[in-house]
Symmetry: C2
Subunit: 500 residues, 2 copies
């Protein structure tokens, strides 16, 4: 028989992502004790494990009064299944939340306090409301350089850390916001062909139409174990895999979702996020690409310069060699937006096809050159020519195919069945491209969940277009997704054409 | 047949309070388009009404791929039932969130911007994550006096406004945190008996064991229509009803829940919250009681003085006469904590019983005297004696019973069946009472949902206790609730006894 503070588990199959939610019947005595007027949180234990969850109330027959259910991630964390007993108790105040309050009121946090906050976040002790308050306080009260360093260290410590045989391990990171722009697989191919070690752990998209891992997954497997990754890197000098299973800086994965919902960037938080992931991945030399543009993440040169200075300061203290490159972020790079369309562009560049997008090729060469020079493999000024030869000779393509084969086999991308052409409604010059609405359109067409969905984008800034000319084409894998994207397109503007 | 952007509604009975949540099957095409990696929000329309909801995903058979469900408050707002069609579309950015971001980065907000934020909050366009960011930004960047005034006006405007026949309408407000302390029904009885107009709209508890409305509901009905309230006030000069149905400053009800979850107090937000509710309720003369104590909401005299000054500045601009009284918040006022136990104390004072708690009586007299003087009914210094006579003569009790009868009939409180005595484990002097753990204990015993649950508290600060003497008694309506409270009690301290 159940004890008084126990309830019987029942699976309902509700997914609230990382947030731990508990569901109880309105007439359950624990629900009555805790009350449901505020955003109530409770402690739930099962076989020695304990989590903290937010309470949602069920007023239907989905649950009986002696039953409890959990959201998917909470269920996994407690490793519980239908019919088992859970013990419920009142949640005492979480100490690190008092540090968050301290930050809200403008105080500098110590390394230990930041460490405790990050540990509690990784343990799931913060609800989204608390994550939001922490992020807002960091943005409002500007983290000091000391705090950014403390936060970066705490985020590294909260997850795993990778180690490699090579003394020099290179990486690149782009401070996002630009559709397409899939340079990473090309850069890995070039610099590894030339002998550098670049074990690239990439992310999947959160709010964008594709992350590097999504695009790469079109061409090969990306979901490798640590052991498999080590083998590929040892044989080929590099890889392009999904970083999720490596558990690098896991706090970042939780914070970033709330940050996207708020659409705020705390500069300190951003730096800690990028650098902690790279250091945890074992990088020693890093190129940071900051595209600047009206609809990119960073909008002004001034903001890019400030960010560059702070990145350099923090990297110096943490022993990471870094070179920050400010690039043009006024329009997409490459033509395809969405996993398969971007994979097609990447292959076209690697295969030196005549129709390969030259902007994508040039940007990949530029960043490869910077990596070759930063790592000391090439003298300053020699990197570009070396990179170009590696690419144009087919060496890079050869390396890329070997990497794919070792990750689980290479496959060609396939394009989507449902397409809808968008044509210019007047003749004139393209004066503006909105990266944000363009990315959103590709996403609503189904990317990246539907890998061949997205947008194929045919014009560039300052080019002339004729009335009736196809300016881009929406790709989708189902009628419903195409229709959903078109409904959105009817309300927004992507390209501004100024009539002559 | 359903159109492509439509889904069929199915009721699931999930209550997430004020937050609008939508539930869709993982394989639904709209879920696929929108993605579920971030905290996705969508627009949902039904018969001309539109809401914004956060997306949760169902991976079980609770929903089919062409079905959608909503949390309880969202379902009510759209007035939808099982089988009806809902239209789903992508959510464009909400403009007022850019003002929240502006505040995060330290800018002063205009009256218009604050107005738009509050309107969006009342429309349900902010998720808890956004409410959290707004509250945190207000606390981090300190609202200016101009902003507090703008926020107060916006909050008044967002709801209804009550009007009364009398030129002078009095009210009182306590900046909470003190268990028991149920002076309001006594004050209303005294000042109305003496001829003032005091139409008291009270709140229910959110995280405390009882609000004035919960306690009053033990004795009479509090859930009255506006018409009924007007009649009671016209006949008796006052009432003590629940303010919820009056829809006064509804933004406040949403913000306060998130504020409690964060356990932060933005001073500006607090002032706007209190003053907007009172002005919307038609008050012209207000006494604000600020109890100061280590475990009260306001912890230092300095903080109380700052708050007083700011309240006075804002009230002056808004044309509200206000008198701020700083009182002792070191321990509970009265003996009972929980609706029935507090109602018992209120009646004991009104009936002049010999065992009535004298601290409760004295505090009610003090605040009544202030109201009589602030309103101009009595000269400064004469209020106390007038109030005392009204109470001790039975006039106040007589008025109270009439008010109860007109609100729907008077009834005696009944005490709980399950009780557990807590005894002193040593002989000594009471040197500290923790208001917070004490209130929490009463709440976990079931108060206010179980009205007779709570704590009966028998000692006062600096009093002597003997080992084995009952220092308080926990009351509960069920074994399960008593057990849940005792489990909490085993982990915390409420009273500090220093041994002689």
């Amino acid at each position: 028989m159940a004890k008084l503070n126990q309830l019987v588990y029942k699976e309902l199959g509700i997914d609230t992502q990382h947030e731990y939610n508990a569901y109880m019947h309105r007439s359950c005595h624990i629900c009555n004790s805790e009350g449901f007027e505020a955003l109530t949180r409770i402690r739930i234990s099962h076989k020695g494990k304990t989590i903290v969850a937010s309470l949602n109330v069920i007023s239907s027959a989905l649950l009986q009064t002696d039953e409890i259910s959990l959201s998917h991630s909470a269920e996994q964390s407690l490793d519980v299944s239908t019919g088992q007993m859970l013990t419920i108790s009142h949640l005492s105040p979480i100490r690190s939340l008092s540090y968050v309050r301290s930050k809200i009121f403008g105080n500098e946090l110590s390394d230990e306090q930041l460490g405790e906050i990050i540990d509690d976040i990784v343990s799931g002790h913060y609800s989204n409301v608390h994550l939001s308050a922490f992020l807002t306080a960091c943005a409002s009260n500007q983290l000091t350089t000391k705090e950014i360093i403390g936060l970066t260290k705490a985020m590294i410590k909260s997850g795993k850390r990778m180690q490699w045989m090579s003394d020099i391990v290179v990486d690149k990171h782009c401070i996002g916001g630009l559709p397409g722009n899939r340079t990473t697989p090309i850069i890995v191919a070039i610099v590894c062909a030339l002998g550098l070690t670049m074990p690239k752990t990439s992310s999947r998209a959160i709010t964008s139409p594709a992350g590097t891992a999504d695009t790469m997954e079109v061409l090969t497997q990306v979901d490798l174990t640590l052991k498999q990754i080590t083998k590929v890197v040892s044989d080929q000098g590099g890889c392009v895999v999904w970083g999720g299973s490596a558990n690098l800086s896991p706090a970042d994965d939780l914070l970033i979702k709330v940050e996207k919902a708020l659409d705020i960037d705390s500069e300190g938080q951003l730096i800690a996020s990028v650098l902690s992931k790279k250091i945890a991945a074992g990088s020693t030399h890093l190129i940071v690409d900051i595209p600047v543009g009206e609809t990119a993440k960073i909008r002004t040169l001034q903001a890019a310069q400030n960010l560059r200075r702070e990145v350099e300061k923090v990297a110096l203290v943490l022993g990471l060699h870094v070179d920050v490159v400010v690039t043009d972020g006024a329009q997409p790079v490459g033509r395809g937006i969405g996993p398969c369309l971007e994979a097609r562009d990447v292959l076209a560049v690697l295969r030196n096809e005549t129709e390969a997008p030259s902007d994508l090729k040039e940007k990949a060469l530029l960043l490869s050159a910077k990596l070759l020079e930063l790592s000391g493999l090439e003298n300053p000024g020699d990197g570009y020519e070396k990179a170009r030869k590696a690419l144009e000779s087919g060496m890079a393509y050869d390396k890329f195919i070997r990497i794919c084969q070792e990750q689980g086999g290479f496959r060609e991308p396939e394009l989507a069945e449902y397409r809808h052409k968008i044509k210019a409604d007047c003749t004139g010059t393209v004066t503006k491209v909105n990266n944000r609405t363009l990315a959103k359109l590709a996403k609503l067409a189904g990317a990246p969940n539907a890998p061949s969905a997205g947008v194929d984008f045919f014009v560039t800034l300052n080019s002339e277009v004729k009335k009736g000319q196809t300016i881009f084409e929406i790709h989708a894998e189902s009628k419903g997704e195409l229709s959903y994207a078109l409904e959105y397109y009817s309300k927004i503007e992507i390209i501004t054409i100024e009539q002559c």
